[in-house]
């Protein structure tokens, strides 16, 4: 079956029991602190690099999903959630406590490049300091911000000052000789090609990019604080829609639903899972259509053709989603334990509308291939530009179409199955080009795979016996998961691995709610793809990453 992974005989792919791992780490482990999803090892703050490199080199844990930091009454804590790209069900958490008065722990950046931004974020919001970190500054908040907003003693009413700095050339000192000719170029935060409010500090040498530094935080809307202030049952669910707002709402809701359902041990009825799967794939199509539209806009500058065509197809999907959920963009359709309501009546009409859409989709995709991918100018702009080798992609924790465009065969829908995906027949799309073109091609082919999934779901739903249409499990009115239960769960969103870490404290609100955003990690790869290339290729590379700033900044 297509869903099975190719056989690997590599030693690193061997699954080890928690006890074997503890033996491997030996004296590094201070004690065990298991999470619901993975064994957790508490280590000393000065052995982070040693522990992580042992796990990476000898046990094959090559994917640092996220670093979640938090403050307790008596300590700070950073948790490194590790996985394997080859088998993401093998997880391990490395827990690093830090002193309450002087929270310093060693940086993981030399082992995993992706830790760079994650640790900066932890420093910014929580206040943990990382020794040996190359560039520990604030990342989401203005650099002049006072206090760390997710720490315990933060006063959110205090006045703050934000600056509008004049940007100096960051490489000036190194390029003072008369021969070099560098120029500083600000792209964004208000610029049509940055897909929102991203700011790129770019240094050019002639027409070539010497250095590009993404400056984010222009849409940091305190999503984690909002989730921590809401109750599990109903108050958190509206927010995921607003992380990745490119119509990927149901995919995001699923991330929260999955984490919270596993935390509270809620079983979702099969019928609801099929509806979820269908809705989520519709969202994926809508999201990829916009990615295609804006990418064509960035690269071809062809506002009237491809953009309008893709938006037209998006409108059709949005119509279907509106029929299903009642909203065009912010669906708020999932509930813990199921979905909020059944398919719209009359069901036949909905099914035939969906089928009509699926029937015309191959023709549309063909049209996009004629318009975009077989366009010679487009090919010149995208083939062999923005190269991201697979090893670099893994090191940065890139996931989703970005990783799959570099040949990394990683898709949580297959590798860590949830919903109804493992019962359906579909393929994971990968391309080996590692360039801008491959990433676009992956998205376009994924649209076709999504259509296959939707079609099978529609068939299933059509034949579902009327008395078994159970859309919600029985969930208590107030959810209070066990005290100090911790879980990290991820789903495959439109942009990649979207994960949620929740720590409960026995109340009806999460004590810590951490979002692992795929775009945050994917955007980190931009300098790797852009440095040394021409300036138009930076824009193409950025477009092919398909970031959405609501999710980068959260």
């Amino acid at each position: 079956m297509s869903l099975e992974r190719p056989d690997t005989t590599d030693d690193a792919a061997l699954e080890r029991t928690p006890d074997e791992l503890e033996e491997l780490l030996g004296d590094l482990v201070v004690k065990r602190d298991d999470h619901l999803n993975a064994p957790g090892f508490v280590i000393r703050p000065d052995t982070v690099q040693e522990t992580l490199s042992t796990l990476k080199e000898q046990a094959g844990y090559d994917h640092l999903s996220v670093v979640s930091a938090q403050e307790y009454e008596n300590r700070y804590e950073s948790i490194y959630h590790l996985k394997k790209f080859d088998d993401p069900t093998q997880e391990v958490s490395v827990v690093v406590p830090a002193d309450k008065d002087d929270p310093v722990s060693e940086s993981a950046e030399p082992v995993f490049r992706t830790a760079d931004w994650h640790e900066r974020e932890a420093y910014d919001l929580i206040g943990v300091e990382y020794d040996d970190h190359p560039d520990l500054r604030r990342i989401l908040l203005p650099e002049t911000w006072q206090g760390h907003p997710l720490s315990m003693d933060y006063d959110k009413d205090r006045p703050q000052i934000a600056t509008l700095p004049e940007h100096a050339n960051p490489l000036q000192e190194h390029h003072k000789d008369s021969e070099s000719d560098t120029m500083f170029l600000n792209i964004g935060p208000h610029h049509p090609a940055t897909h929102g409010v991203l700011h790129l500090k770019t240094t050019l040498d002639g027409e070539q990019v010497v250095d590009v530094e993404p400056d984010i935080g222009y849409l940091h809307r305190c999503e984690e604080q909002m989730a921590q202030a809401g109750t599990y049952r109903h108050q958190i669910m509206p927010y995921p829609d607003r992380w990745d707002y490119i119509s990927a709402g149901l995919l995001n809701e699923w991330a929260y639903a999955r984490a919270a359902e596993d935390l509270a041990e809620i079983e979702v009825p099969e019928y609801a899972q099929v509806i979820r799967t269908m809705g989520a794939e519709m969202c994926r199509i809508a999201a990829h259509m916009l990615a295609l539209a804006t990418f064509a806009l960035d690269v071809n500058g062809d506002f009237t053709a491809t953009f309008m065509y893709a938006i037209n197809d998006r409108e059709r999907v949005q119509d279907l989603l509106e029929d299903l959920t009642g909203q065009r963009l912010m669906f708020n359709y999932f509930r813990l334990g199921g979905v909020v309501w059944d398919l719209p009546e009359p069901r036949e009409e909905f099914f035939s509308k969906t089928r009509d859409f699926l029937d015309q989709l191959p023709e549309s995709v063909e049209e996009y291939h004629n318009l975009v991918t077989s366009n010679e100018i487009f090919q010149m702009r995208t083939i062999d530009t923005g190269i991201l080798p697979p090893e670099v992609a893994k090191n940065y924790g890139a996931t989703g179409p970005v990783a799959r465009g570099s040949g990394v065969d990683y898709d949580l829908r297959r590798d860590d199955p949830y919903g109804y995906y493992d019962e359906l027949d579909w393929d994971v799309v990968t391309e080996d080009g590692c360039d801008n073109f491959s990433r676009l091609l992956v998205r376009m082919r994924e649209v076709e795979e999504s259509a296959k999934i939707i079609e099978q779901c529609v068939d299933l739903l059509e034949d579902w016996p009327e008395e078994e249409r159970n859309i919600q499990a029985n969930v208590p009115r107030t959810l209070r998961p066990d005290d100090d239960a911790e879980i990290y769960r991820a789903v495959e969103a439109a942009k990649g691995e979207l994960g949620i870490y929740i720590r409960s404290d026995g109340t009806d609100k999460p004590a810590r709610f951490k979002i692992r955003s795929p775009c945050f990690s994917n955007l980190q790869t931009l300098p790797e793809m852009a440095n040394g290339e021409y300036i138009p290729d930076v824009i193409a590379a950025l477009g092919s990453l398909d970031i959405v700033l609501g999710e980068v900044d959260r």
């Binding site: 203005p142 000052i161 509008l164 700095p165 935060p189 049509p192 409010v197 305190c222 909002m226």
Partner: protein
């Protein structure tokens, strides 16, 4: 032209007529049906201001300005199906210096507010602002956020608020058309209650915070000071 000739093979007649019309300045190429509707008089009588406002309202250039979720619905408003251009206001301009109207489509956070103020200042007068979505009204679902400005009106004046999270494209179209009506009627924006201003750091009132940041920020750097305690 004789009737036994089924189609024109000689185009010279058409060419000659067009050329003559251009050379002599005669012909009725410029006279539209609208002109005919006015009847025999080539003059209309109106106030200059009224005429100019009518022109302004009928041809608005939007600023291409995306912030958050609402910008996705804004794109749909510009694109096929909803097509804001039908109302004479659908051509987004990439530069604020060429734009009349700014749609503020999303949540304003502390880091972005100075930038938005700068973009607004760069637009030539007369300029108008449509606040799109709940976030520009009050901060919307993120109002409690430590970093969120409680409404765009704390930074710039807003002419029309379109509620919704996000508003449907139809709602935005309605808001823009309402703005056009207001502009055509010559109604100005209300004065904002409490704008956060961009000012030089040295002009700030000295207090504990300013003293603390004095060694980090240059005297002439532009800053925006937020008083979150006074926000609604």
């Amino acid at each position: 032209m004789s009737s036994d000739q089924p189609f024109i093979t000689d185009e010279s007649q058409v060419v000659t007529e067009t050329r003559d019309a251009r050379m002599t300045g005669q012909g009725d190429r410029f006279n539209s049906r609208l002109r005919e509707a006015f009847g025999s008089s080539p003059f209309i009588l109106t106030k200059f201001d009224k005429f100019l406002n009518w022109c302004r309202g009928s041809s608005m250039f939007m600023l291409q300005f995306g912030i958050a979720c609402c910008s996705i619905e804004m794109m749909h408003t510009y694109a096929v199906k909803h097509d804001l251009d039908r109302f004479g206001s659908g051509v987004p301009r990439a530069s604020p210096r060429q734009a009349d109207v700014m749609i503020v489509p999303g949540t304003i956070v502390s880091k972005f507010a100075p930038r938005m103020k700068r973009v607004y200042d760069q637009m030539p007068e007369p300029k108008f602002v449509v606040g799109m979505g709940s976030c520009t009204i009050s901060g919307g679902p993120f109002q409690e956020g430590y970093n969120v400005i409680k409404g765009a009106e704390e930074v710039i004046p807003i002419d029309i608020h379109v509620p919704g999270c996000p508003p449907r494209p139809e709602a935005l179209v309605y808001g823009v058309v309402k703005l056009q009506e207001r502009v055509a009627n010559g109604e100005a924006a209300p004065v904002t209650v409490k704008p956060y201003e961009l000012e030089e750091f040295s002009d700030l009132e000295r207090d504990e915070l300013v003293d603390k940041l004095a060694d980090q920020i240059d005297e002439d750097e532009l800053v925006m000071r937020y008083n979150f305690a006074d926000s609604p």
